[in-house]
Symmetry: C2
Subunit: 410 residues, 2 copies
């Protein structure tokens, strides 16, 4: 078999995670190991935006620097920067896709690796279709990442395990924190996940491993009901005065309205802006009114997606390894595909890598399945715990300098 | 010298921290080492409330269990529970103080150790004064803790170093997270500290150690001005599109109004409640209006005070050691005092333990001094960095089980 010889380009796209730089390190390791086929690798600054602007950095020296690659693996967010740009459809190109191919020709780029989630896979699909149409031979490959864990056709996504580990640990600490007083109080923890509840689900893991756990967990996969919520809180108060619940930011009522737009939709600030609030903030007001007790909203915010100091070792290793695997597959001739995980067993945890057509992954959302949610819709099941546990196990032991984790800077 | 022979009681009071259980472990170790003088030690459930209710737990077996003491040291929040109860003044006792002495007599308690901050030291002062007045011989001792670091007469307080380490690391991660996009945006990170800015100040450490740092840091020790704030943001935007600032929750305008009550004071929700918001949320609205750019408020919330998974080893060791030291001082006859740190040098870091009259510590606040704040009032100085660094150095390497830090449960 004859390999397509040429350089590679790699980019990061979409929201930052604790593992997206491990994916980058994996692509670099993969290219280093296929140096006979891929002599050089260029990093695109801010994803496809950098490619179109010709803003490329030669990462070949970095790919051969083991110490710096290790540091890159434990550094959060996107070392190359990110973007949310959407390309035009291949059959109605306004010159954007043609420009991309010009840059490919100029740098003799024959391998394109794009690390991202659902939206970013759209870029991979379009570039793959367009280059084929215009007869520019290249291998276009998606490398999965998203804390949301909602990519189709893969068991899980790099970035999810680390975010879930942060959420599980932080909720366990919050449960301890809330337990110290005897005054009745409700703490509502809001976790990222607009469409799928995978990350919020991880808040419930404590119940299955004997660590601090919330009293209820609500996911967007189930319609949210204030009546059921009140009933859950009453039951929790019967057990202890300090109630903690976890909610996904994307929970909605049966009629489709987001909980976060439920309470303040008619409120405006002094500039006339509608006051936007989170789901937890909205529920806090409801709890104060209904239970006449102390209530607190804790939004884990963007901190949860970049908390590399408590990354999952499994996640970081897999992120790096599946990215290197993607390089190998591209060198073998595959294109227009995304690397995916297929799980063979939970315990012992066994997973194999594969690939799937990027067009079947782009713009799709994988929801938390029924068997991972209790019939009452207010907690996760032991089957979910079995699914999650392997993904959050292991610690990366990052390097601290002066008490602060050392980060890679390009 | 003849020692006062009798049992001990220990309690935790005020807000939870990552180090308050290390202080408890230190008291237990101290008592274990003075077993000839103090045969038994009782834990008060929920601080002074538990003492008054006679809700005491014999912790003597725990004091001799090294493995469990180690686990206790790295467990966040108060293992014994907490309270915010204030005792009556000794000269106008309504029976409460008399009841406390009844319990002391019943259990032959001659040593009283209370772990807490400014308010909790008020309890120590009153019990000390009252027992002296009624002629009940006992040693009453304060053991310092507070993430706020605002106790008078001590160089710093246990709990502060760990919270500061969490803040420094989280802000460094957020700065990386914010840097990935090219669209102008302002992220405002709100950090605990109503009266003193010590914890918010720790957000600025990155500038002095080459790690991710915010563009500005605002403390309650300086009057907050929207004009200066806008000027600072403009200067930051000239450097990069992603601006990050840290604010203390307690920042106020020159006229004394809190920034957090500045914007929505006339707004009510649909139940007629005044909408309370944080300083960061208020400034976010101001930024959107003034700069017409994306703005985000990140509240580190109660997570910052109980993040034991990233505790400072220096903090945890000192918390434990100064508590054991307090026991020794009490055995030697001191009473009505609080254990304090006196710093000899920053680098190498050298600190000695001492004690100070609790009446000079209770209900007082130690502010961040002028030399730790820049003349412009929008950052911390290198002198502050020299002060802070020794307190956040070192990692505790807590024990993980199934990816989640293992916690002590009484």
């Amino acid at each position: 078999m004859e390999h397509l010889i040429g350089n590679a380009a790699v980019g990061q796209s979409g929201g930052p995670t604790a593992a997206i730089n491990a994916s980058l390190a994996g692509v670099l390791r993969g290219v280093r190991d296929h140096a006979e086929t891929i002599p050089k690798i260029y990093g695109m600054k801010n994803g496809i935006d950098g490619l179109l602007a010709g803003d490329l950095t030669d990462l070949t020296p970095l790919s051969r620097d083991g110490a710096r690659l290790s540091l890159l693996e434990t550094t959060p967010a996107s070392a190359l920067g990110s973007c949310r740009t959407r390309l035009p459809a291949p059959d109605s190109d306004d010159g954007t896709l043609a420009r991309a191919v010009d840059v490919f020709r100029k740098y003799d780029i024959r391998y394109f690796f794009y690390i991202g989630g659902n939206d970013s896979m759209d870029t991979v699909a379009k570039l793959s279709a367009y280059t084929e149409t215009v007869g520019y031979e290249m291998r276009v490959f998606g490398v999965p990442k998203t804390i949301d864990n909602d990519l189709a056709l893969t068991d899980h996504t790099p970035g999810y395990g680390s975010a879930a580990k942060y959420v599980a640990n932080t909720v366990a600490e919050l449960v301890r924190d809330c337990a110290v007083y005897t005054v009745p109080a409700v703490t509502i923890v809001e976790i990222m996940g607009r469409d799928a509840g995978w990350l919020a689900a991880s808040a419930g893991i404590g119940r299955y491993i004997g660590s601090g756990a919330p009293d209820a967990v609500y996911l967007p996969e189930r319609a949210f009901s204030l009546d059921s919520f009140d009933r859950d809180l009453k039951e929790a108060f019967a057990r202890h005065p300090n109630v903690v619940v976890a909610v996904s930011e994307g929970i909605r009522y049966r009629d489709g309205r987001y909980v976060c737009e439920g309470l303040f939709s008619e409120q405006k600030d002094r500039f006339g802006h509608v006051i936007l609030t989170g789901a937890a903030a909205a529920l806090k007001e409801h709890v104060k009114e209904t239970f006449r007790c102390k209530a607190r909203a804790v939004e884990l915010s963007t901190v949860q997606r970049c908390a590399a100091h408590i990354a999952s070792l499994t996640d970081i290793r897999e992120a790096s390894d599946i990215a290197a695997f993607a390089v190998g597959r591209a060198v073998c001739g595959e294109s227009g595909r995304t690397a995916v995980f297929r799980r063979l067993s939970d315990d012992p945890y066994r997973v194999v890598f594969g690939s799937a057509p990027v067009s079947e992954i782009a713009n799709k959302v994988k929801h938390v399945p029924d068997e991972f949610i209790t019939p009452e819709g207010n907690y996760v099941t032991s089957a979910f715990a079995a699914y999650l546990l392997p993904l959050i196990r292991g610690e990366t032991n990052p390097v601290y300098e002066n008490g602060v984790v050392k980060h890679f800077i390009l």
